[in-house]
């Protein structure tokens, strides 16, 4: 019965979708990692993806952005094959991907520079995000001189600076201290509401998913499928201590238990 239910869930269609993922399949050798995943993301939606540890969440995002070549399936962004050179995307990895040879300011400017934006616009965006992540005083520092949480803030700022149409985040706050995590979660929500960007946010932290998302996709263990889609329309700003919040959190937690 459970099997039948899961396959009934494989196609989740949304009106006015900005992103269509259609039968995405990825194998590493014989190991089937992503098993025919299909879903749509609405323009301006905040989608969280949760799943058990090692269920292939990162592979999923890497295939989605074509960092990995998918074995099967189509990914359409605004109706076209997704292409980072054409579409404004930003991908914030779990590991800190700062460029060691660039200082904080130059790192944040990177995306704006490769896109060839005019200098004034670059400056304006850099100033805005560098203050947002609290690295104003460290603009001339090199990554080597910064702590882990500061490095991740540089990467986040670099992603935010391009004001992407689609922002992909892979457990971006996993290694930050709690206070900063809360601050950056709220900053992310502000940015999202301000710019109307679409966000796909991968996390293993269910509270985080419930706090941030419009919708949660729960993934199964490998080979990964979409197990369940949960609509999250709790009113914002959300209170993590409210009853509704706790109920939804428990419901999602129940779904990803693999024991």
């Amino acid at each position: 019965m459970g099997q039948a239910q899961a396959s009934a869930q494989t196609k989740i269609t949304q009106p006015e979708a900005i992103l269509n993922v259609d039968h995405l399949t990825k194998k590493f050798g014989d190991l089937l990692v992503l098993n025919d995943i299909s879903f749509d993301v609405k323009k301006g939606e905040f989608l969280c993806i949760v799943g058990p540890t090692g269920c292939g969440k990162t592979t999923f995002l890497n295939s989605l952005t074509r960092l990995y070549k998918a074995d099967d399936g189509k990914i359409l962004f605004e109706g076209e094959e997704i292409d980072p050179q054409k579409h404004d995307l930003a991908y914030i990895f779990q590991e800190y991907s700062t460029m060691e040879w660039l200082n904080v300011e130059e790192n944040i400017r990177f995306g704006l520079k490769v896109k060839g934006y005019p200098k004034e616009l670059q400056n304006e965006r850099v100033e805005k995000v560098i203050k947002m992540v609290g690295l104003d005083a460290y603009r001339k520092y090199y990554p080597r001189q910064l702590s882990a949480s500061m490095l991740q803030r540089v990467v986040i700022a670099r992603g935010f600076a391009v004001e992407p149409k689609l922002l992909l985040m892979d457990e971006p706050y996993g290694q930050l201290d709690l206070q900063l995590k809360y601050k950056l979660e709220d900053e992310l929500l502000n940015l999202w509401q301000e710019t109307g960007t679409t966000v796909i946010f991968i996390t293993h932290n269910i509270e985080e998913a419930v706090y941030l998302s419009d919708r949660i996709l729960v993934l199964t263990n490998k080979p990964t499928k979409v197990k369940k889609e949960m609509i999250n329309n709790l009113p914002r700003p959300r209170k993590i201590s409210s009853d509704d919040f706790i109920n939804l959190r428990n419901e999602v937690t129940e779904l990803i238990k693999w024991w």
């Binding site: 960092l67 980072p84 995307l89």
Partner: protein, 262 residues
């Protein structure tokens, strides 16, 4: 500079001076009134001869001119080796087909020291300058290639991914990610290559030259002039030291992001 740093610097210099003085003292004692003294000159005559030969020629040229000959040969051989090494290293590191084709040949050639090419080089190019450039090239380029290759191959995939996601095209990824990420490796290669080039020029000059610091020491051997040999060796050591220091300085300037501490 803080007080502590000044103190550290002063003590480093003091200890360096102390160790040089100790060496001179041991040298002086070892050759005074012993049989060793009959085949080994005292330090003071060596230094006198060293200073004297800055202006008075040994053979056809002064010491400075000999050094310029050697340095020019190193310059030509080293620079051509560096250019080939960097280009080929990056090509091998980034383009699998080139890697697959060049690596087997390179692995075969690499263990052959530059000096082993001397006989072949003389038969090919005669005893002119080309032979010396060739020997230095063969002695130096492998180190640059190996290091550049390692650097270009091991560029963090995630960094490339991050740049790609921000819209960078292949050229931008190469210029803004692959190249800067490889620079520290290239420098490590250049540093080793420069010192092996300096060794190779001496070997080349000892075999086939009428000028250069390598000629000085073989010339000294042929005429039984131990002072001249030591003057030559002293010059070789000093120039090698200066080259290594210049190289480190250049690296510090170009890779400041790697070294600059808090």
């Amino acid at each position: 500079m803080s007080k502590q740093q000044v103190r550290d610097k002063v003590s480093t210099i003091l200890f360096a001076m102390l160790s040089v003085c100790l060496l001179l003292l041991v040298w002086q004692l070892a050759v005074s009134g012993t049989t060793l003294g009959k085949m080994f000159p005292k330090p003071i005559p060596v230094f006198q001869k060293f200073v004297e030969s800055l202006t008075v020629p040994i053979g056809q040229y002064t010491l400075v001119q000999h050094a310029v000959f050697s340095l020019y040969r190193v310059f030509v051989g080293f620079v051509s080796g560096a250019v080939v090494g960097v280009i080929l290293g990056i090509a091998m590191g980034r383009i699998p087909v080139i890697d697959a084709i060049v690596k087997p040949i390179f692995n075969l050639i690499r263990p052959i020291p530059g000096v082993a090419w001397i006989p072949m080089a003389i038969l090919w190019f005669g005893i002119g300058e080309t032979t010396k450039y060739f020997i230095i090239f063969m002695g130096g380029f492998a180190n640059v290639l190996l290091n550049t290759y390692a650097g270009a191959r091991d560029v963090d995939k995630q960094l490339i991914g991050a740049a790609q996601m921000l819209g960078a095209n292949r050229r931008q990824i190469f210029v803004h990610i692959v190249l800067p990420a490889s620079v520290p490796y290239i420098f490590a290669g250049l540093q080793v290559s420069l010192s092996t080039s300096w060794m190779a020029v001496l070997a080349a000059e000892m075999v086939c030259a009428q000028e250069g610091v390598g000629y000085l020491i073989t010339g000294g051997m042929n005429s039984g002039n131990t002072t001249q040999i030591l003057v030559g060796m002293l010059a070789i050591g000093l120039i090698g030291l200066i080259l290594a220091t210049l190289m480190r300085y250049a690296e510090k300037r170009l890779c400041s992001w790697k070294i600059r501490g808090n």
